[in-house]
Symmetry: C2
């Protein structure tokens, strides 16, 4: 992992991951990937004093600012950009879902997809204790790369600590269901509770956005959620952690005036226009259909026959609610994506629109309430929060991204 180029940095207090250097922390740090925390939730929760612990940390010198997320604004690409510190072009993870060369579709859960090390794996190799805890089990494998201890709240009832203790016994509480708003606070509590077992000083907790898909800021479930998360944040601070938080993406309503999802089905539109062999892939796709029915505001289109590219582009560009169509190379350049992991066309929907494959392929009946989703450019602005004071000038002139979270926590504290 280390080349001679960085040998001068190999002091015990510094390690390098993907060409970025990080300092070993004086105090343990907890980085939280706050899934789907559109800035509107944070602003609302602070304004209505739902998060007194967070508010106190900010009043005492903490920072709340905005940064930009990786496009597509989906969960896996953004978790991986945060834990690697580099763009999808470098780390190789461009979606939750991926179309293989033979036309199959697979979940991007296997670490073999990774083209970069994680900050946690690099820290571990440098002798610093680490721990990753995810709400959804789908992410656990990616984060466990390099021997990093990784657990999920979703499957906590099946997991054990190295000494054989069941995780839920260590927690002293059963893990909530995947569609329970208590799962994310439980995830933070797991990170704080289990960290001492691994002597972990660089800890990562990745939440789930079921709440944000289901409830707008100010709705009862969102209020319950942010109050409970704040209690968990308070526990982490009391336990001595410096806390950092970045969202993977924002979240917006994507419904037509009648409440139905405002969706364009690309395969249907392409087929009706005589384009054959087009395969829309929704990179939001994951096993958790109740959230979003695999409908997000960005999709890839793969074509069996590239001579139909211009025709396909034209058909899609004519659809209302589409705000951009880019060829593979142009999209890779514009959004720092790995060109071989995206489609022949990349389609962007506007703020209020989502993209599907075909009417037959999405089970809209599974949706829980009015559709709220993400994936495009309108969910790119995300909160970045650091509980402790940053050194003067730490943010001066920076084009902040959520992938800078570990730089802020490890290199920029006062």
């Amino acid at each position: 992992m280390f080349t001679n180029l960085y040998s001068h940095l190999l002091m015990s207090s510094t390690f390098v991951a993907n060409d970025r250097s990080y300092q070993a922390p004086d105090k343990p740090i907890l980085a939280i990937c706050a899934d789907g925390w559109d800035p509107e939730y944070v602003d609302d929760a602070l304004e209505r004093v739902l998060m007194p612990c967070l508010a106190q940390a900010l009043a005492d010198g903490g920072t709340y600012t905005l940064g930009r997320a990786q496009v597509p604004t989906f969960t896996n690409p953004n978790n991986v950009t945060i834990v690697t510190g580099v763009s999808a072009a470098q780390n190789g993870i461009a979606g939750n879902h991926y179309r293989t060369a033979d036309g199959g579709e697979v979940q991007v859960t296997d670490p073999s997809f990774l083209r970069a090390t994680t900050i946690h794996a690099a820290a571990l190799e440098a002798g610093i204790g680490v721990l990753c805890v995810t709400a959804k089990d789908k992410l656990r494998q990616l984060l466990a790369t390099g021997g990093v201890p990784a657990f999920s709240a979703e499957k906590a009832h099946e997991q054990q600590l190295p000494d054989g203790t069941p995780v839920i016994e260590a927690m002293g509480a059963e893990n909530p269901d995947i569609y329970d708003w208590r799962l994310s606070p439980y995830t933070i509590d797991m990170a704080v509770t289990l960290a001492p077992r691994f002597d972990a000083r660089i800890v990562y907790a990745s939440l789930t956005d079921f709440v944000q898909h289901s409830a707008a800021p100010g709705e009862p479930m969102a209020d319950d959620f942010y109050r409970a998360v704040d209690i968990s944040i308070g526990r982490a601070l009391d336990a001595g952690f410096v806390l950092g938080l970045a969202a993977d993406h924002g979240m917006r309503p994507k419904a037509a005036p009648d409440g139905s999802p405002n969706v364009r089905f690309l395969d249907d539109a392409l087929e009706a226009a005589g384009v054959t062999g087009a395969h829309t892939l929704c990179p939001i796709t994951d096993p958790y259909v109740v959230h979003h029915a695999a409908l997000g505001s960005l999709a890839w289109v793969h074509l069996d026959d590239l001579s139909q590219l211009g025709h396909a582009r034209s058909v899609i560009a004519a659809l209302p609610g589409i705000e951009g169509v880019l060829d593979r190379f142009a999209a890779a350049d514009a959004f720092e994506l790995p060109a071989d992991r995206i489609g022949d066309l990349i389609v962007l929907a506007d703020a209020g629109t989502v993209i599907g494959k075909s009417a037959a392929a999405h089970d809209l009946s599974a949706l829980h309430g009015t559709l709220r989703s993400h994936g495009g450019l309108h969910e790119r602005s995300v909160p970045l929060i650091i509980s402790h004071r940053l050194r003067e000038g730490a943010l001066l002139g920076r084009d902040l991204r959520n992938r800078d979270l570990h730089d802020l926590l490890l290199n920029q504290l006062a």
Copy 2:
């Protein structure tokens, strides 16, 4: 210009421009905007030893790396991103040309278009001597903002120093014509010769890309040009300057197999498809038509009637050689552009294609040889060169842009 926020930085040795801080230089610096220097020219010139002074500086610890340019990859947006240190979204300059609210078209030459200070104006206000010299006069006014002394090689015969000395008398040589390959080396020589007259320690020289539009790497005029520029670079180094160089954009051939320009005329295509009130604006447009006949690989389309947006998008997306069409907001987000200074649609042509308004609007007969041009994503990768050693780790983990040139020269030297 300075807010209280930065008052702690107001030591005599540091100044702030647009939220980035810069240190006053120990040795005078010369930043060169190397117009149209695709990395291929630099690689070729170094390989064939056309630039021995530059090669020696690199051998002695200098740096040659690549960075990314501002999209659209045109001259004014990239000169302004280099001299402000921030993106077009912040500095307001998105093209050489601009469509006004009343449908007129104007050159972006007036400083009133600037929404950011220049590094030179900020340095001057901090008491540091500065000087800007441009090859083309069109840029001079923008760079003179804030009282910065600014001259152009093109109009040197009309300009005088503050003591009344004619510039060409101070130079001891007449200024070459705008279509003479000697104009760029003369520009560098002007910067070096005039700097002492202004006690200038932060000096900027902006070249012209007439040569790169006309000759590929290895062609005789290109060879003459790079040899002559190297002599001027050697003079600058001998005069004690630390030299930095960044290109504003690359350059690629844009011709069909028969040698004619490979161009798509958008207004013609839109009119033929029944879209009315569409106005294509080529932001490459400037007074120097022999270079490129106002044909580049990116254009805006303004629509009188936004209800035709989807139709227009579809018509354009169907054209061969088009690799992307984005709505105003999506383009502003994707490429850090000021949304009110671009079109309703932003059109990207592929590596070998350019975009025009209509066949009638461009005088292709004015073109000097086979068309070479720029403006899109394929001219975004540009050389960044620093003549002196950078401090260890200065480039570690950075997503370098050409707008970082002054940061490298003022903050990152060893």
